[in-house]
Every structure is written in C-alpha cells, then in structure tokens.
Amino acid sequence: MVSKQENFSYRLWRYDGAPGELIPLLQSAQDHFGYIPRRAINYISGVTGIPESEIYGVITFYSQFRLRPMGKYVVRVCAGTACHVSGAKMITETVEEEIGVGVGDTSEDGLFTLNTVACIGCCSLAPVVMVDDDTFGSLTPASTRKLVKKFKREASKQQTAPTETPVT
C-alpha cells in the first residue's frame, strides 16, 4: 500500500492534463495533510493551470473539504431521517456536552472535531455516530457518553503531536 506521503506528491507529479482530476487531487491533498492548506491549493494550481480562485470555489462547494485542520478524531453524528426520528438531536447534544464544542468546531486540545453528516446509510441501527471510519449504532445518550469517554482514554494513552497551523 503506497504511503499517503507519496500519494499526493505522486499524483501531482504524474498529472498529465487529463480532465476531471481536480476533485481527486483535492481529496488526495486532504488525505495527506488532514485538510487543504493554502500551499496545496498553490501546488495544484501550478500543476493543473486551474486558477486558485476556481479551486477555492470547488473546495467551498463540497462539504467534505476542509480548510482548517481537524481533530485527531472526527466525530460525525448522523442527521439522516431515520436517525432523526430515533433521537439524533439528543445524541448530538450529548456529544457537544462531552467534548465541549459545538457542531463544526474542534476541541481546544485538538482531539475531537464534531460534525453532522446527512446520512451514513446504516439506518436500521439508528441513531448512528461515526468516529473516523468506524460506525457505532443503536446509541442512547448514555452509551454515547461512554463512547466519547473511551476515545478520550485512548487518546490520553498516546502522545498527540502539535498540528500544523493553516495559512488561510
């Protein structure tokens, strides 16, 4: 499996003018840096010839792209219909309380970023929360609290390096 480091630079290097590569390049940059820093926009613009303003327009259109670094754990509370009728609002509030941030923000210690997502597709397990690529279903406020605490414990066992600051 090619490491993420090579992925983005490699993709830039082998860009051959094929059309429709902007979004995959942005996704590759985000995989590499954890978000899209100004210099990534600069690199992509240089290689593809697409103006930075246009790239910025594409980034801000799609909700997947972020211009600021995210926390170590990205928590996504599903706000789809099935989850909504099954109490997703309470789950969101519980997570907000436990982490100490509102939806869309990152905690001060850089551990958690909280977002809502439209629908994860696990509707029979509603309400559902994703932490990075793992999905947790059939949650209640109580079990959600336990889940967040579990991640807090895991994080405190490892060292977290300072994150790169964005230049936007």
């Binding site: 059309p19 996704q27 909700s63 099935a82 009728v85 099954s86 997502v117 696990c122 029979s124 109580a142």
Partner: protein, 593 residues
C-alpha cells in the same frame, strides 16, 4: 465440509461482525477439515446483525445477533455435531427442497430478490463466487449473441424503469443515447445515494459489486460507449473499496478492457468519489462534479443522451437499475415482466428504517402495499407504538398517513398521495413523530444542500425553513400557512433542477394530511406528538426513575427536586424546556407530551 459465512456489510460491521469473524477464524483454524470461513455482504436483515450462516451444501441456516461467545456455540454444536441451535437466534433456515423456517422467516420469504440475488450469499470480493452464481452470463449473451438493438429491445420488453426515483423507462433512455453518434460516449452510474434513510445502493455495491459492473458493460455495448464512470459518494468507504477490488478482478478476468470475451468490444471504467454534496445526485450536477467543477445543475435540453458528460452522449442510470440488467439478459425480459403491475414491472428494493421493528432491506414486487411492507415484512412498529405515517422519497418526497396504508407501492399510485416513490427509502414514523418538525427537518436538509444557482430555491427554501422553525418554537402566526403554500408553489415553478422542484414536497404533504398538527402549533402553542420541546410538558416517568439525581444536578434552572433513590419531580412553572434532563438521564425516564 460446512461453509461459515459472516455478514460483513457496513451494518454488520457496526453491529460487531469483525469480532465475530476474528473468533471464527481461530475456531476454523482449529477444525480445518470441518469448515471453511468466508464473508458476505448485507442480506438485508440489518436488525439482527451480526449474522452468521452455516451452509452444508444442502441446507442453509442463519443465526442472528451473534457474538464471539455464541459463535463458539455455533461451531461446537452446529458445525461439529450437526446440532442446530433451535432457539430465537436461528433467524432463517432454508432446506434443499425450498422449505423455510426460523424466527424471521417472513422477512425473507415475502421477498422476490432479483437485485439482491447475491447479497448475503456470495463473497463480494470474489469474482469466482459471482460467476458461479451465474454472473457475467448476461454479458456473454449481450456481447456474443445479441445486437445492440436487440439488447435495448430486451430491456424495453422487460418494462424496467429507472430505480433512482424518476422511473423513466430504461430501454427508451438507452435508445436515445444509442441514436447519437460521437467520437466518445459514456456510461455513468449514479451511486451517490444521498437520500437520508436510503441504503439500498450501498448494500448492492458492498454485497454484489459485479452486478453493477456487468449492467454497465452491457449498457456500453447497447449504446456503443467505450468508457464508464461510477460516481460513488465518499461516505461509503466500504462500497468504494469493494468496487475497486471488483474492477481489478473484472479486468484480470477479461470482462473489462480491450476485446472483451473476444467480441471486439472495448470498455473500461473508473470510480469517481463524491465529496459531500447531495445535489450531485442530480445527473447534470453529477457530470459537473466528475468534470472537477462545483456541482451545479445545468439546463436540459440538451439532455444527457445527446450532450452529457463533457458534452458527449451519456447514459446515466442508478445502481439498482444497472443491477437488474444482467438478470434480465440471462433470464429473459418476460421473466422480469412477470413481476409487478401493468405499468410498474419488476421488483423494487426498499430500505425500511425508523420506528419499524425489522429495519433493513426488502425487495418486493412492485404493487406490494405499504401495510404489507410495514407490518408483514417490517414486523410492525417498535415498542408497540402506533403507526402514524411512512415517509417515502426522502427530502423530495412526502409522508403518507397510516390510513392510506393499503396504497400499492408503484410509480402510479404513490404520486397520487402527494409523495413520490423515490429511490426506495421508507422511514416509518410513530405517534411520537411531529409532522411539523419533520417538514422542518427536510427543509433544513434541502436548504443546506441547495447549490444556490436559482434564487427561488436558494432564498425560498430558507424562508420556508424560517417559518417552520417559528412553528416548532411556538411563534407561529395564522398567516404562516398561506405563506408556506405560496412559497411552495413559487419555488417549484422557478427551480431549475429536481432539488428545488421537490424541496417543498414534505411540507406540502404535511399540510395536506396533518393540518390539525400545524394548527395546534400555531393556535394552541402545543405539539401533539410531544416532540417540539418548547411546546410540551416535561415530567418524570415514575416506573423508570431510579433517583440517581443526575437530572436535578444538570437542570440549569433547578426545576427538578427529589432525594437520592426517590422518584424526582419537575416543577412545570420553573421548567424552561431545554431538554438537559433528557440527555442526562441514563434510564429514559423523562416524558415529553
């Protein structure tokens, strides 16, 4: 030699299937002569995941709710001693002669599985499994026995209509694109499945990716296209992963690439990931996204069949539509047309979710009634509550009240109710769901996802949302209902694409069927369903309260009193209805009504 098959779709994994698989790996390694282990996608019985199947070649037995511990039992008794565990955990069994049994037999027995034919029985990462189950036979026929016109005729004769929501006749759509000449034509698969509450496409992509590939290649041959794109939303990482494996395997086996099966036909395809935009499920916005632009819809005509991706003739269909194609080619159009109603042929996959007891995927013939889906397959409402409505068509659809439960689900009957068939998401609601709040929820969604191009969609949906929010906060005025109706009409008239044109639907159907709830919110400042917190009364449920004092400690206005280990009481005069007690309580002891 028995096969042990573990369900490893996203549902299964979230329910804990990985731990079960890992334990089984150890047990199988200890008994290599008795059994082999493999994995499969989602069979659709999501409410009993993790699921483990034991297949002895003749009989198939599926156990539900399996844990690493009960997996040991299953191996001990069923695998090694041929002794079935005859309790509730045996959800389904099918014998060699077709006889079925098990606690959840109705769920599967009432289905006709064409699209889901392989989901839950084959290993989605094995092309050998797919071929052994009849895969790529349809493609062989299409490439070696039929002309492009004959392929299109088969699809027309089957009566297949698009499964993405619009229900446009598929054969006709293909014939349009086939009629245009160009140096490059494209086949596109819309795997964006953005509707909240819909997960049919996810399960097909995770459980039987080759069925979609095969359908697309057949389409390519029919319309004379040489390249395809699968546009899959980024929120489905497992689906993307399985698609990548499938593409590589198909290329290696010669089903993709140059001179496929020696027929002289070249076709290849690529996966494009979405980046989190619901509007990119709209086909012209989808093309814009593949082209690397902001996903904003374009005006039609010209239609994609003439000028689509990069202005070339393009055929775009939904995942489920393509998954039907190989079956139609190999079994014949008449076999498909034998299912369904006169104008809605075939089967449809529905994603049952919400307050239904058996949440999961069910594929039934078109024309099956809502009640059959909710009660016979869905097992009725959770916790014995009352069936109130079913939401169909996602944010573009509407709520159909329980009183109309005998409505058959097909392309003709559902639109008469004001809802749409949509892609198949059915969210079941009970008496605790507020129809004003649900309309607000959907408008919030479409408002956020509006691309902004059309003024009426961009600003109109915001105005509708503001009115609905006012209603849920108890600030509604009588004139608000007229304002909602008028806005709905104008937004539909002046929006370029389906998102804007259908955004007012949930609110319109809610007004049509639940006017009394809206009036209660406006005139009585009360929410009959007990869902809009500012409009209900909070109280403690005596039987559930353990006296843990957490709610009292967290109440910002000290409205709750009670001694430890005693039932607590909320003072109505002081309560500000913030909901903190609900999130604090570990016993679900707070009632809102």
């Amino acid at each position: 030699m028995k096969r042990i098959i573990v369900g490893m779709g996203t549902c299964g994994l979230s329910a804990g299937a990985q731990a079960v698989y890992n334990r089984l790996e150890e047990l199988v390694a200890d008994n290599p002569d008795a059994c082999v282990l493999s994995k499969t996608g989602c069979i659709g019985m999501c409410y009993r995941e993790p699921l483990v199947e034991i297949d002895d070649g003749d009989n198939r037995v599926i156990y539900g709710g399996v844990t690493a511990k009960t997996a040991e039992d299953i191996v001990e008794r069923h695998v090694l001693k041929d002794e079935r565990i005859a309790d509730e955990s045996l959800v389904y069994a099918i014998a060699g002669d077709g006889q079925t049994a098990g606690s959840e037999a109705p769920f599967l027995d009432l289905q006709e599985r064409i699209v889901l034919r392989n989901c839950g029985s084959i290993d989605p990462e094995s092309i050998e499994d797919y071929v052994a189950a009849g895969g790529y036979a349809g493609l062989k026929k299409a490439l070696l026995d039929l002309s492009p016109d004959a392929i299109i005729q088969e699809i027309k004769d089957s009566g297949l209509r698009g499964r993405g929501g619009a229900g446009f006749p598929t054969g006709l759509k293909w014939s349009f694109c086939a009629g245009y000449e160009a140096d490059q034509k494209y086949v596109v698969c819309n795997a964006d499945e953005g509707d909240p509450g819909a997960f049919m496409d996810r399960s097909v992509l995770e459980g039987d990716p080759h069925s979609v590939l095969e359908g697309m290649i057949i389409c390519g041959k029919a319309i004379n296209a040489s390249f395809g794109y699968i546009y899959c939303r980024a929120e489905y990482p497992l689906a993307i992963h399985r698609l990548e494996i499938a593409l590589a395997a198909a290329r290696e086996a010669g089903y993709l690439g140059k001179n496929i099966l020696g027929s002289g036909f070249d076709f290849d395809m690529k996966i494009k990931q979405g980046a989190g935009a619901f509007v990119c499920g709209e086909e012209t916005a989808l093309f814009a996204s593949i082209e690397g632009q902001r996903g904003m819809p374009r005006i039609r005509p010209p239609f994609p069949a003439e000028k689509g991706l990069w202005q070339k003739p393009t055929n775009n269909n939904n995942v489920e539509t393509y998954a039907n194609v190989p079956w139609i080619l190999s079994e014949g159009s008449q076999a498909y047309a034998a299912f369904g109603t006169e104008k809605s042929k075939g089967t449809k996959v529905f994603a049952l979710a919400g307050k239904v007891a058996n949440g999961g995927l069910a594929e039934v013939p078109m024309g099956t009634t809502i009640n059959d889906l909710v009660f016979k397959i869905g097992g009725g409402i959770k916790e014995g509550r009352e069936f109130k409505a079913v939401q169909m068509g996602g944010p573009s659809g509407g709520c159909i009240p329980a009183a109309m439960g005998d409505t058959p689900v097909d392309f003709e009957s559902i639109p008469k109710t004001g809802a749409i068939m949509g892609s198949g998401g059915m969210v079941v609601m009970d008496d605790s769901t507020c129809m004003v709040e649900i309309a607000r929820f959907f408008l919030n969604f479409t408002q956020t996802e509006s691309c902004g191009k059309c003024t009426f969609c961009r600003i109109g949906t915001l105005r509708m949302l503001e009115i609905l929010e006012k209603l849920t906060l108890g600030e509604g005025e009588p004139e608000d209902l007229d304002r909602l109706s008028e806005l709905a009409i104008r937004i539909k008239e002046a929006s370029l694409c389906g998102l804007g044109q259908s955004a007012p639907n949930p609110a319109q159907t809610a007004l049509r069927y639940y006017l009394d709830e809206y009036e209660a919110h406006i005139h009585d400042k009360h929410c009959p369903a007990g869902a809009c917190l500012p409009l209900v009364n909070f109280s403690v449920i005596e039987e559930k309260c353990s006296g843990c004092t957490l709610c009292a400690k967290n109440c910002p206005v000290d409205a709750i009193s009670g001694k430890p280990k005693e039932v607590h009481i909320i003072d109505q005069a002081t309560c500000v209805k913030c909901g903190k007690c609900i999130t604090s309580c570990n016993f679900n002891a707070i009632l809102t009504q």
